[in-house]
Subunit: 203 residues, 2 copies
């Protein structure tokens, strides 16, 4: 006698986890953390809501897992391009920008969560603070290297310029998401070239 049809699709935990992360990333990108319900994510995955919570203890652990995974993937992708090769600030930043241009969902996830996480009560509040510091420091180091090679004016303050470039990149992403006609990378490159044109290749 045949088993009763239950409709369940049982999958390896790892595969299901990946699937959930992908669906959740999209949902959080569109509606934010508070605006996304576990039931909604579960339904899109094709699983019950308690079934979803079997893989992630809570909604908080889910958003953190999503952000950490995507952040790691993204960083690795770009850094891998320049393995051992010498990179200028502009090249490095433009590589990120160009990659972002092909991944609006990812950009949206980080842009929306970034603003939402300004709230100290947001589960990813610390995550975004740390991430921001890390990115600024990375860019500041690239700027210093460029200055040493005479590619950027020594009159530029590395930390301040890094903060400015991170801000511009974030702002351009927001602008691009709101109005996809925005030439995000074109505007960014124009600004970077203007930076390189600042006079004063050492006194």
């Amino acid at each position: 006698m045949a088993r009763v049809e239950t409709g369940r699709v049982r999958r390896p935990a790892a595969a299901r986890r990946e699937q959930i992360l992908a669906v959740a990333a999209d949902a959080f990108a569109v509606a934010g953390f508070r605006g996304t319900s576990l039931a909604e994510v579960a339904q899109k995955v094709g699983v019950s809501q308690p079934g979803l919570l079997h893989h992630f203890d809570s909604k908080e652990s889910l958003i953190l897992a999503v952000l950490q995974q995507r952040d790691l993937q993204d960083e690795q992708h770009v850094e891998a391009q320049f393995q051992g090769v010498e990179v200028t600030t502009r090249e490095w930043l433009m590589a990120f920008c160009r990659r972002n241009e092909t991944q609006p969902g990812l950009v949206r996830l980080f842009t929306v969560q970034s603003a939402e996480s300004l709230n100290p009560a947001h589960p990813a509040h610390d995550f975004f603070y740390q991430r921001n510091q890390r990115v600024r420091e990375r860019i500041a180091r690239l700027i210093v290297a460029d200055q040493e090679k005479g590619r950027l004016s020594p009159s530029l303050d590395p930390a301040a310029t890094a903060a400015e470039l991170v801000s511009l990149m974030n702002g351009l992403q927001l602008q691009w998401l709101r109005d996809p006609a925005t030439d995000m990378c074109g505007l960014f490159e124009t600004s970077l070239l203007r930076l390189e044109a600042v006079p004063g290749t050492k006194a």
Copy 2:
């Protein structure tokens, strides 16, 4: 015989409305639209939740009223400074930046709502789209005027440069909110001065 103490504080509708708008602006600024409950706002106002909904038909109408009021106040404040006077792009933008620096709550309201409203289902989705277009056009006109006076290089594309400056301003606000040590206006001015240094004051 004395009337029974009800504990109610009855106020003129207009005054209560203003009070609600002020409290709601703070709440939406911190926790966003989805993250703020009417009960929370009502409690801080010192009124019951249905008492609050007597003044605003719904949560949606409340957030829209908050944004419209603040947007109007802000624009009027800065434009009033330059009544009839000729302003440069840099002066106009720096006036906004300096005012913003004194109003973190206001900046946070618009930064958080701006990102949250990327969601087409957000009540202020259209509001922010229109507002963004309006600001970009205003700045583009200032740039054209500066170019005509020889204060900015004619090689700059007004619309593109306006989009870049709006992006930078928005990004700097986010950066400043996340890390108050950021010298928002200082960084902005540095960038604006760099723009003015672009060579080519007409052929």
